[in-house]
Point group: C2
């Protein structure tokens, strides 16, 4: 009977150890494994009405716009895109570790283009606003996390929410007058997150493909990265709303949803890196260090219907 | 008597208002004004024995090395530089929003170059270690600030200090084995601060000039930003210790000291931006958002004697 008892003990111990090992293994998955085992429902297809294609000589930059945060600016940008306003404009500012920016040098002579849009620097924090909060805090805001695929900060005392200036975020340039942003001048963050711009300017979305086409541009040698007269700026071929582009010419992308257990696991995999290379996992992650991954659209059928 | 009393009151009020205004004005100086009114003693000249020149076809990248934090790695890198080991090596990794890296594809056949250096991922926190602490906290470390011109984190419980992976920091590549870093493979941070690398790899210094020569390189299309076979990597002309470069060919630079009231004012000017453009100062600043400014050396005499 002692043997049977011992065996039971040993087998129970073994079983428990196996369960623990499995739990540990799933806790310590690396991001690649998490993405590989994700379900199709962990991803969302870009909405053609809020997706902007910035076609450059070297390829396509795709912007996922955030209408919840800047509806007026996005409406204006879409209207300008539909007028082909941005076609042929120069990328005339590339400031290292800061922003790439394009604008119309003659905007002031265009009353419609230069017409200011009411500031959308933050929005009311409403009860049902999606928010996957990060556990590690933030230097700039009381709380940070993700809302519908965008890095977001919020202040429950002030009852305000706003998008955060992480790498690849897209904003609307303005002059010193905070009410002067018109939407004809757009910038993309290309360096360390300039979070001091949060709540000072309207963010409208995020580049989800093609950042390398912007970040590798020669830096402008004039003040604040402006292109000097002897520098030839890159010329934008076209900026179009995806919905206006023929189906065959669209780029089929999907973005990881930020309100799922899969995304929570992804965040955890970045808080504690368990890839073999890592020696000392940090146990923390900064808002702008969590990748919001995009991938080619996986279609349930041979074609990707809308 | 009433008039005299009233006048006294008014004059006192005026005087107090003037004093307050002056105090406010100095409190709310912008960084440019602070630098313009700095004294020569607010700056330190780079030490030629711990300064590395990475000469590229497009210009010079200058690295200010931090011997307090990685003396063994820096000794090894200097020894390799003095053997002209880095001359002609390719910049064979450019990963967007992460790092630029160069290394010797044939390092493994060179026993000296590939010989590992003991890890220097952090150092003991000693009592007199210079540290200008930032007041706004940090997501990754208990305390962060600046030590002798470098962004530093420290943990007083663990009694350890380490350099932080901010934009422009220079580190020593290694394989999965934490003890495998040899100093022949160096990387520079070109994106949002990858602070999860802190204490996982040896940082040896910071690029103080020429970042734009690295950040504007085409991104590598292989895994992790490696250059593919059809991509032509930039070839390094030479890497030299400044002390070995003839005086006439040196770049005379000085870096803002981080242990002065002037630097404290600079930090404050970044915590609350009062340039006219800003609408809403944040009241906080992230370690990697404080610029550690370099400028051409200001010499007391026509020549810059060492």
């Amino acid at each position: 009977m002692t043997l049977r008892k011992d065996c039971r003990k040993i087998m129970l111990g073994c079983a428990l150890a196996l369960v623990a090992q499995t739990a540990m293994a799933s806790k310590y998955l690396a991001m690649g494994d998490i993405l590989a085992s994700s379900k199709n429902t962990d991803w969302r297809v870009l909405d053609p009405e809020t997706t902007l294609y910035v076609d450059l000589p070297g390829g396509r930059v795709i912007i996922d716009m955030a209408p919840r945060f800047a509806p007026l600016h996005i409406a204006k940008i879409k209207a300008l895109a539909r007028k082909r306003y941005f076609h042929g404009l120069p990328i005339n500012r590339v400031q290292d570790n800061y922003v790439v920016q394009w604008s119309d040098p003659r905007a002031s002579s265009d009353a419609v283009a230069s017409k200011a849009v009411a500031p959308e620097f933050d929005v009311p924090l409403i009860r049902d606003m999606p928010f996957a909060r990060l556990p590690d805090g933030d230097v700039y805001a009381p709380e940070v996390g993700f809302s519908e695929g965008f890095p977001m900060a919020r202040d429950r005392k002030l009852k305000r929410a706003w998008l955060a200036h992480c790498y690849a975020m897209v904003g609307v340039g303005r002059d010193n007058d905070p009410t002067s942003g018109s939407g004809q001048e757009l910038y993309v963050v290309i360096g360390h997150a300039p979070r001091h711009l949060d709540r000072n300017v309207a963010l409208v979305g995020r580049v989800v493909q093609g950042m390398e086409l912007l970040t590798s541009l020669p830096r402008g040698t004039d003040a604040m990265g402006g292109y000097a007269e002897n520098q030839k700026p890159l010329i934008i071929k076209s900026v179009m709303v995806e919905a206006d582009v023929p189906l065959a010419e669209r780029t089929q992308l999907e973005i990881i949803r930020t309100d799922t257990p899969t995304f929570a696991a992804l965040v955890e995999s970045r808080r504690n890196r368990h890839e073999e290379w890592f020696f000392s996992p940090t146990g923390h992650v900064d808002l702008c260090n969590v990748p919001i991954v995009a991938r080619p659209r996986v279609c349930p059928k041979p074609n990707c219907p809308r």
